[in-house]
C-alpha cells in the first residue's frame, strides 16, 4: 500500500516538475520579449480574453483549453491589427477585448447547467493536476519557441528594438510581429493550467524583471528568466505542499519575495561600489 502511495506521489510530483520546467522555458522566453517590448498590457488583454473561450468550451462541452486557444489567438491578432491599421488607440482596443472575453466567459459559464468545480483551476491554476496532454502541449510549445528564437533571433531583436527602422530597411516586420504575438497567445493558454488566468501574467513578467535587475543583455535575460522561473515554481510548489495553499498563488508569492530581495541586494551592491569608487 505504501509503495503505491509513494509511486503516486512520485508520479504527480514528476508531472509537476516537468510542468514547472516547460512553463519556465515558454514563459521565460516569450516573457523576455514581452517585457523588453513593453507589451505586458497586451499580454494581460490576451490572457483575460481567453476566458471567453473557456466559457464557450464549458457550455458546448469541448475542451475549454481549445476554446481559450481560439479566443487568445484571435484577440492577439485583433489587437495587433486594430492598433496598427485603424486609428483606434492600442490600450483602448486591449481594454475592450479584455472585458469582452471576460463577459463572454461569465455568460456561458452562467448558462452551463451545474457548478463546474474545474473553473477555479482555470482562474488560479494547479500545477499538481496538470494533465499529460497539457504536458505534451507545453513540451511541443517549449521546443517550438526555443527553435524560433534560435533561428530568427537577430531579426526578432532588430524589429523589437526599432520597428520604424526595421520597416524602412524592409525587414519582415509584419510576419515576425504576428508570429510573436501568436507565440505569446499560445504561451498564455498552455500555462493557464499551471498558474491560472489571474496569475499567468506574473510568470511572464516577474522572472524577467528580476533578470533585468542583473543583466541588460537580451540573451542573458532569457536564460536568467528561465532559471528564476523554474526555481520560483519549485519553491512555490514545495511551499504549497507544506502549507496546503494553492500552488499558483504560492509560486507567485515566492517570485515576488525574490524580486524584492534581488532589488534590495542590487541596491546594496551598487551603493557599495559607489562607496569604493569615492574612497
Amino acid at each position: 500500500m505504501e509503495t503505491i502511495i509513494t509511486l503516486f506521489e512520485y508520479r504527480f510530483f514528476t508531472n509537476a516538475l516537468l510542468a514547472a520546467l516547460f512553463a519556465s522555458i515558454t514563459c521565460g522566453i516569450t516573457g523576455a520579449y514581452i517585457v523588453s517590448r513593453r507589451i505586458v498590457f497586451i499580454s494581460g488583454g490576451i490572457t483575460h480574453a481567453s476566458f471567453g473561450g473557456i466559457g464557450i468550451g464549458y457550455f458546448f462541452g469541448f475542451n475549454p483549453i481549445v476554446g481559450a486557444m481560439i479566443f487568445s489567438v484571435l484577440s492577439a491578432f485583433g489587437i495587433e491589427y486594430m492598433s496598427k491599421k485603424t486609428n483606434l488607440r492600442e490600450d483602448s482596443v486591449i481594454a475592450i477585448l479584455w472585458s469582452f472575453g471576460m463577459a463572454v466567459g461569465i455568460i456561458f459559464i452562467f448558462l452551463t447547467p451545474g457548478y463546474s468545480a474545474n473553473l477555479m483551476s482555470f482562474l488560479f491554476g494547479n500545477i499538481l493536476t496538470v494533465t499529460k496532454l497539457n504536458l505534451v502541449f507545453l513540451l511541443i510549445l517549449a521546443l517550438l519557441i526555443t527553435g524560433i528564437f534560435l533561428v530568427f533571433f537577430k531579426t526578432i531583436l532588430f524589429i523589437a528594438f526599432d520597428e520604424q527602422y526595421a520597416r524602412a530597411v524592409k525587414l519582415p516586420v509584419e510576419t515576425i510581429n504576428y508570429l510573436m504575438i501568436t507565440l505569446v497567445a499560445l504561451t498564455i493558454v498552455f500555462n493557464i493550467k499551471v498558474v491560472g488566468i489571474i496569475l499567468v501574467i506574473s510568470l511572464l513578467t516577474i522572472p524577467q524583471t528580476i533578470a533585468n535587475i542583473f543583466t541588460k543583455k537580451f540573451e542573458i535575460m532569457i536564460w536568467l528568466s528561465i532559471i528564476i522561473g523554474f526555481l520560483g515554481s519549485i519553491s512555490g510548489l514545495l511551499l504549497s505542499y507544506y502549507l496546503n495553499v494553492p500552488s499558483g498563488a504560492a509560486i507567485i508569492f515566492f517570485l515576488v519575495i525574490l524580486f524584492f530581495i534581488s532589488k534590495i541586494f542590487r541596491n546594496i551592491l551598487t551603493s557599495l561600489r559607489i562607496r569604493k569608487q569615492i574612497q
Binding site: K154, T155, F158, F161, Y165, V169, P172, F218
Partner: protein, 251 residues
C-alpha cells in the same frame, strides 16, 4: 549623371490628409540634397515616400537599377532621435549589425567579416570602445553616432538623415559633416533639416518642402527665392555663408 530614384507627380499623405502635392524630383548619384521647410510641411512624409513606407496616392516612385533590392540595404536611414526605446536590452554592436540585416529575410546571421565591418565603422566614428555596451547606457550624442554607424555600415547607395542635428553636441556635428563629405564622393545623401544654416555649407542643392516641393539646384538660396517657393524660412546672411532662422508662420 546616374539617376537612382525618381519621384514623378507624387501626391501622398495619411488617409484623407494630403500632405504632399505633385512632387517631382530626381535623385542622382553624388547628389547632396538638403531638404528644408517648416514643421508639418511634409519633410518626413517625403522621406517616408522615398523609403517606401508610404505608397503615393497618385504618381510613382521609380527605383533605378542600382537601387534594386538585393542582399544589402540600399538606403541608409538615420531616423529622428525620439522614437526608439532607450532602455531596450540590446548591445551597441547589435544595433550596428541591424544595418547589415538582409531585406525580406527572416533569418539573419552574421559572418565574422560582417562583425568586423561593424566594428570598423564604430572605430571610424570613434566609439569602438562602446561596442559591447548596452545601448541604453549611452549618452544622446553617442546614440546618434551609433545610429549613424547603423545607417552607413551597409555602404548604401543613398543615405537619408532626418534632422541629424537635433540633440547633438558640436563635436558630433563636425564629425558628421566630415563623414558625410567623404561618403558623398560615391553616394547620394538627403539631409532633412528645419535649419538651413547648418547644412547650406555642405549640401549641393536645396529642396524646399511646404506641401509642394521646389527644387533649387544650388546651395545658395536667397530670401526672395524662398518667398517665391512659399517656404516660410528666413535667411540672415553672415558674410558668404548664409545663416538662417525659422520664421514664425501663421497657419
Amino acid at each position: 549623371m546616374d539617376k537612382i530614384i525618381e519621384l514623378q507627380n507624387v501626391t501622398a499623405g495619411y488617409g484623407e490628409d494630403i500632405i504632399l502635392r505633385n512632387v517631382n524630383i530626381a535623385i542622382h548619384r553624388n547628389d547632396f540634397i538638403g531638404v528644408i521647410g517648416p514643421n508639418g510641411g511634409g519633410k518626413t512624409t517625403l522621406v517616408k515616400v522615398i523609403l517606401g513606407l508610404i505608397k503615393p496616392i497618385t504618381g510613382k516612385v521609380i527605383y533605378y537599377d542600382s537601387m534594386k533590392e538585393g542582399k544589402q540595404q540600399k538606403i541608409g536611414y538615420l531616423p529622428q532621435n525620439s522614437d526608439t526605446d532607450k532602455v531596450f536590452p540590446i548591445s551597441v554592436l547589435d544595433v550596428v549589425l541591424s544595418g547589415l540585416a538582409q531585406p525580406n529575410r527572416l533569418i539573419n546571421r552574421f559572418s565574422k567579416a560582417q562583425k568586423a565591418k561593424a566594428r570598423e565603422i564604430l572605430e571610424s566614428t570613434g566609439i569602438l570602445h562602446l561596442a559591447d555596451k548596452n545601448f541604453g547606457e549611452l549618452s544622446g550624442g553617442e546614440m546618434q553616432r551609433v545610429f549613424l554607424c547603423r545607417a552607413i555600415v551597409s555602404d548604401p547607395e543613398l543615405l537619408i538623415l532626418d534632422e541629424p542635428n537635433t540633440f547633438v553636441d558640436n563635436k558630433f556635428e563636425s564629425d558628421l559633416y566630415h563623414t558625410l563629405k567623404k561618403l558623398n564622393e560615391h553616394k547620394a545623401i538627403i539631409m532633412v533639416s528645419h535649419d538651413v544654416g547648418t547644412i547650406a555649407y555642405y549640401v549641393k542643392s536645396i529642396a524646399c518642402v511646404n506641401r509642394e516641393l521646389h527644387y533649387h539646384q544650388s546651395n545658395i538660396i536667397s530670401q526672395e527665392q524662398l518667398d517665391a517657393y512659399n517656404c516660410p524660412i528666413q535667411i540672415i546672411a553672415h558674410g558668404s555663408v548664409p545663416h538662417t532662422i525659422l520664421k514664425e508662420h501663421n497657419e
